[in-house]
Symmetry: C2
Subunit: 382 residues, 2 copies
């Protein structure tokens, strides 16, 4: 795509853990003239999103599913398609999003066992192994990065444990805050579902629930005894649609968010076809993260994740220094035209804040986004 | 909003029954820079959408609910929040969308009675009355305009029957293809839920499920014996969010489609604050519809709706003349840079096509959209 004759309006620098700063190209695509959702012009745009998502997740035959909705809808898709009433699910809880995924699974009839870590940690490998051995779980859920704590879970390590001690258990990775900012090897690690959304590492406005489902999980789905327990989230409805768009045809179940698909396509193109490569993208996120985290440490600020090895590379959750509260800090950043996020985890809500560093702000250092926020933080806390 | 420095790209004229042609202002709003979903700048944009939607539906205290998703998600919201397992629902079927709404209700445990009309008709008032007297229905659903047939149901007349013979039955109006192109008097007619989407009469790209719920329906919801049977569609989750945004605060359940909310706001402003008035808007849709339908009649084309009094004002479904099929007609329109829609109703799929005439193409005659399609049709069939 050539550079469009479009420049987005001046605005405050958005450094929250999603939505993130979005490129002019992506916003221009979101302003595409209205198109029929079954038009021959639109079909390959949708089909290419499916194909490029596979590249981002390093999968040969994972089945992408793109449905209008928030990231949360991904939980409903997992729960209503893969769980039948009374089946067991193991939820690894590293913050707010574990609690909510558990509530969603229960809504659709799962018996949920939660492994809750203390705030700032993820459940230990030993606890995961013990739990997996205690009964046959239909699925296990991992919050790859819990946006409420900035804790990064060891997705690969957990996949290894599952394969070793409970190979029938499906591995569900909540990658809302990790896809395209943390390395994910769908096939190699043996993941069965990645669920995510467009407004974080994928660099697109919010409004699309994005999933990738393994052939193994599809077989489990296809041999369900009861019908899926949701209508809108039912893969029975969506799989034929995804297959149709990918093969160059259109089929109708519900009108897709046409403009957002154009925008997603533009962002996926930048991620998969332009520099940096995916490997370099992950590396740049790691480097940017370490730079910001070091700067905060130098200022004496303590991070929420207890183990630096398991802190997200796309966001930083950090406590206010003793004696300071949100209103001492966030308005000052705001005065510097920088938007960060307050706390979300109920146990520590008022004691910390969150900085997002994903996508453009990281892979295009010429923007100077990271410099700006570090300077502003140094000015406030230095 | 002043005229933005933005002009959408040249494109084929989109005259399908949704998505429809969208204004430059709305597309420019859809390209708004990324914003935090809890930012003080964004909160009133969301709050105003809620307030303006009430104006469009002529309701004082209906509760709007705006959730990322396709229009279809509105069915899940109705079924999972208002139906408990084993309760009876009466579905008035005037085409494809009645079948699907019934399937959705059954997914969430409803016992569905369908009143099926012949293709081109809606169930008769006498049949509706008889059915309502046969057992106590928790709710009745009406497809206001069935997009597959272009049949307009007599929503007001059915509301009157319900109030007279079964006043506890909730009236659910599927207004996906009618809101802002057909008159709807939420309070006066006694409607309990209107469900719709943004990409038709509301003149915005697709991706938002839009509902308005009566206080009576909310009471029924609040006194459910079982929890809502969906997580993502649960009003228990969404009602506090809607109330927060309307009162000038933000609360988090799932990230709203921020850019689309800006776009929806821009379109609602045009609908509620600028000329034509809502009454004139309905009148213009009626006049445009009659003009197109007369032109088709003059060309000897027969419409799908059997009774002209119950044909939609925002779309026209019309049979090909004897001996002609889609490939004789649609490519010719396409050559004139006009996109219309093929058939959708399974019984007559290959025998008819559909023309949308909602929103901009109708309320701004200076665009000449209607002239263009009529001329093209006269050229093809004349």
């Amino acid at each position: 795509m050539s550079t469009p004759p479009f420049k987005q309006e001046p605005h405050k620098l958005l450094l929250i853990p999603g939505p993130i700063e979005v490129s002019d190209e992506v916003l221009f695509a979101n302003a595409h003239p209205s198109m029929s959702h079954v038009s021959p012009d639109f079909i390959p745009v949708f089909g290419d999103c499916i194909r490029m998502l596979r590249e981002v997740l390093f999968t040969a035959d994972g089945q992408p599913i793109l449905v209008a909705g928030s990231g949360t809808l991904g939980w409903d898709q997992v729960a209503s398609n893969l769980i039948e009433a009374g089946e067991d699910a193991l939820v690894l809880n590293s913050g707010y999003f574990g609690d909510s995924f558990a509530a969603c699974l229960e809504t659709y009839g799962a018996r949920v066992t939660e492994l809750k870590a203390e705030v700032g940690a993820a459940p230990s490998p030993a606890d995961v192994e013990t739990a997996l051995k205690s009964k046959p779980f239909k699925l296990i859920t991992i919050t790859h990065v819990d946006t409420s704590t900035g804790v990064l879970s060891d997705a690969k390590g957990i996949c290894d444990i599952v394969r070793r001690v409970s190979p029938d258990t499906l591995v569900i990775l909540d990658g809302v805050c990790s896809v395209a900012s943390e390395e994910i090897r769908f096939d190699e690690w043996g993941i069965d579902v990645v669920l995510t959304a467009t407004q974080k590492g994928l660099g697109t406005p919010p409004g699309l629930s994005v999933l990738c489902v393994s052939q193994k999980a599809l077989k489990v789905f296809e041999t369900r005894r009861s019908p899926p327990s949701s209508y809108y989230a039912s893969w029975k409805r969506w799989l034929p649609i995804m297959k149709a768009y990918e093969s160059g045809n259109a089929q109708y179940f519900a009108t897709p968010p046409v403009n957002l698909i154009y925008a997603f396509n533009a962002s996926l193109k930048a991620i998969t076809k332009a520099a940096p490569s995916l490997e370099d993208r992950f590396k740049m996120h790691k480097e940017a993260s370490q730079r910001l985290k070091r700067a905060l440490e130098d200022l004496g600020l303590r991070q929420v994740p207890l183990d630096p090895a398991f802190a997200a590379n796309g966001m930083t959750a950090v406590y206010y220094p003793d004696g300071l509260v949100a209103s001492d800090v966030l308005p000052k950043l705001n005065k510097d035209e920088i938007v960060v996020a307050g706390g979300l985890h109920k146990d520590i809500k008022d004691r910390y804040f969150r900085i997002g560093h994903m996508g453009l702000s990281v892979v295009d250092p010429s923007r100077g986004d990271l410099d700006r926020v570090i300077q502003s933080l140094q000015h406030i806390f230095g």
